[in-house]
């Protein structure tokens, strides 16, 4: 039984969302999904299905390359459709982008400080940073190093750690395992799982590694060419032949 049925108002609700790039290419054709408080929801799909576009539409990061052309996004009951990213972050929604956008010229420490940009309680920042080091001890060892010199795995950890510094209510994670060695993939997933349990944070997780994602998630959605074609509990999805055939067919670990 997923937790979704115990709550009546979702923390994040997306209704018939449509989005385009440069106002020409229609990429999302009415995406519907919701994430309840405390849940972990996986958004699965093949390359180019529209996963990243969905997350960017929600978080306001689409601005500049594309725009929402229809539908609505509600965060905690508030209609936040088309809000710029800084307003979403200050409302507790943080998007960890695909491709780990760290500040390459800033040190690890400064990157983490920037994560707390929207925080009002600045006196608690140092304590929270210790908390981040609890999950990612390697970041503490690299505190003074410029983020541009970190390895891919370390940059991913920094990107997640930096997002935690904002004390988000909901975290959008876009392919945290992309490009990582299998050992690191498992490590990152374990840490995400740990964060989820300890930080009381709601997760919307985008993954191509469906097997891993469904171990972590309560529920999941499958997106194909800009529409949700399948949704259900993690267990249902794991058993679903459509998903099994395409995404769990032993290609991934």
């Amino acid at each position: 039984m997923s937790r979704s049925t115990e709550q009546n108002r979702p923390l994040l609700q997306v209704q018939s969302l449509e989005a385009s790039y440069q106002n020409v290419i229609r990429v999302l054709h009415g995406v519907d999904l919701h994430v309840d408080e405390g849940e972990c929801v996986a958004l699965l799909g093949a390359n180019g299905a529209g996963k990243t576009t969905t997350l960017k539409s929600i978080s306001g990061m689409l601005e500049g390359e594309g725009s929402i052309t229809g539908g609505n996004v509600f965060l905690d009951g508030e209609d936040t459709t088309g809000y710029p990213a800084h307003l979403m972050v200050s409302r507790g929604l943080v998007h960890v982008l695909e491709g780990r956008f760290v500040f390459p010229d800033l040190s690890v420490y400064e990157n983490l400080l920037m994560g707390a940009y929207t925080r009002k309680d600045r006196d608690k920042i140092e304590t929270d940073m210790e908390g981040v080091f609890g999950y990612f001890p390697r970041l503490k060892e690299r505190l003074k190093v410029q983020a541009g010199y970190l390895s891919g795995g370390e940059q991913q950890m920094l990107a997640i750690g930096r997002a935690l510094m904002a004390r988000p209510k909901i975290l959008l994670l876009d392919e945290p395992s992309m490009g990582l060695a299998p050992v690191l993939v498992r490590e990152v997933f374990n840490i995400v799982n740990q964060i989820r349990k300890e930080e009381n944070v709601t997760l919307l997780l985008v993954e191509q590694n469906a097997r891993m994602a469904l171990k972590l998630a309560d529920r999941g959605y499958l997106i194909e060419t800009g529409t949700i074609v399948l949704h259900g509990t993690a267990e249902e999805l794991r058993e679903d032949p459509r998903l099994q055939q395409v995404y769990l067919g032993g290609i991934h670990n």
Partner: protein, 295 residues
């Protein structure tokens, strides 16, 4: 030998003004990827505003200078707010064209209000030469050099040690990452314009005190270009060093080339020649990163 030292000192002074003005240019580029072609006009209008305040308010050059910096900051915020913010998602080239437009407007204002003739600040310090041991330098030059140093050091400390400075470095490092942590980029852009307006106005007032004011002051926008490119469009330290190098080349080159060839004006050309040679060897500038787009 005195001739050499005189030219060298002059070069370092002119160069420090270049460094300061180039800082504004680089800062706007780093924060918003926009090449600000109104930089020279900001310098020019800053000098004229200061001159006007000196004569209207009778508060002396230093007081008028500080007030000028305040007014220039307000103007920078207005430019960002009324013009550039509307162009947040416009192609970079359009924004560059808009800065050229802003420059033309500022130059027209100067021509309309003050006319094309050379104007002068009232003499406010006794222009006695100071003996540095190996060379005698006019005291106004020393004031100017120290002012440049204070501004450069001040902004250096600001970027290194303040929270706002960190936010600006972050936005310069990655605009996307900055947005994703919740930085409203338009505020960073506005601040970059404020800093650029301040350093330009300072450069304008200093130059105006030494050489007088004409609308030609706006040519500084082009004259700092070798420093900006040489330093690598995205490096503040590189730009500072490059500014001084360009100033020295200009003075030494101008001085000696005039003696040898009998032609004046070669000094202004010399930096561009050196620039071409250096870019030939190091296309990314002295300290710039390789990825930076070249002009």
């Amino acid at each position: 030998m005195d001739y050499f030292w005189g030219l060298l000192i002059n070069g370092i002074l002119v160069g420090s003004i270049y460094s300061m003005v180039a800082l504004g240019f680089v800062l706007i580029y780093k924060a918003s990827k926009v090449l600000n072609f109104a930089q020279g006009e900001l310098l020019m209008i800053g000098a004229y505003i200061c001159l006007e305040l000196v004569y209207q308010l009778q508060i002396g050059v230093p007081g008028a200078f500080l007030l000028t910096l305040v007014l220039m900051s307000v103007m920078a915020i207005l430019i960002e707010r009324l013009v550039l913010r509307r162009m947040m998602n416009a192609p970079v080239m359009s924004v560059v064209m808009v800065t050229i437009g802003i420059g033309i407007i500022l130059r027209s204002i100067v021509l309309l209000v003050w006319g094309p003739i050379t104007l002068h600040f009232p003499a406010w310090i006794r222009d006695v030469p100071v003996d540095l041991g190996f060379v005698r330098v006019s005291v106004i030059y020393i004031y100017s050099f120290v002012t440049c140093l204070i501004f450069m050091a001040g902004f250096g400390l600001f970027f290194r040690y303040t929270r706002t400075g960190l936010v600006m470095r972050a936005a310069a490092s990655s605009q996307v990452a900055a947005r994703s942590v919740g930085v409203p980029l338009h505020r960073v852009f506005a601040l970059a314009w404020v800093v650029a307006a301040i350093v330009s106005a300072a450069g304008g007032v200093i130059t105006g005190n030494i050489a007088g004011l004409t609308p030609e002051l706006s040519a500084y926008g082009v004259r700092v270009f070798p420093a900006v490119i040489l330093g690598g469009l995205d490096s503040i330290v590189g730009t500072t060093i490059a500014g001084v190098i360009i100033g020295v080349i200009e003075e030494l080159g101008g001085g000696y080339l005039r003696d040898w060839t009998g032609l004046s004006g070669l000094g202004t050309v010399a930096p561009f020649i050196v620039l071409i040679i250096i870019l030939w060897i190091r296309p990314q500038g002295l300290m710039g990163t390789k990825e930076v787009e070249r002009l």
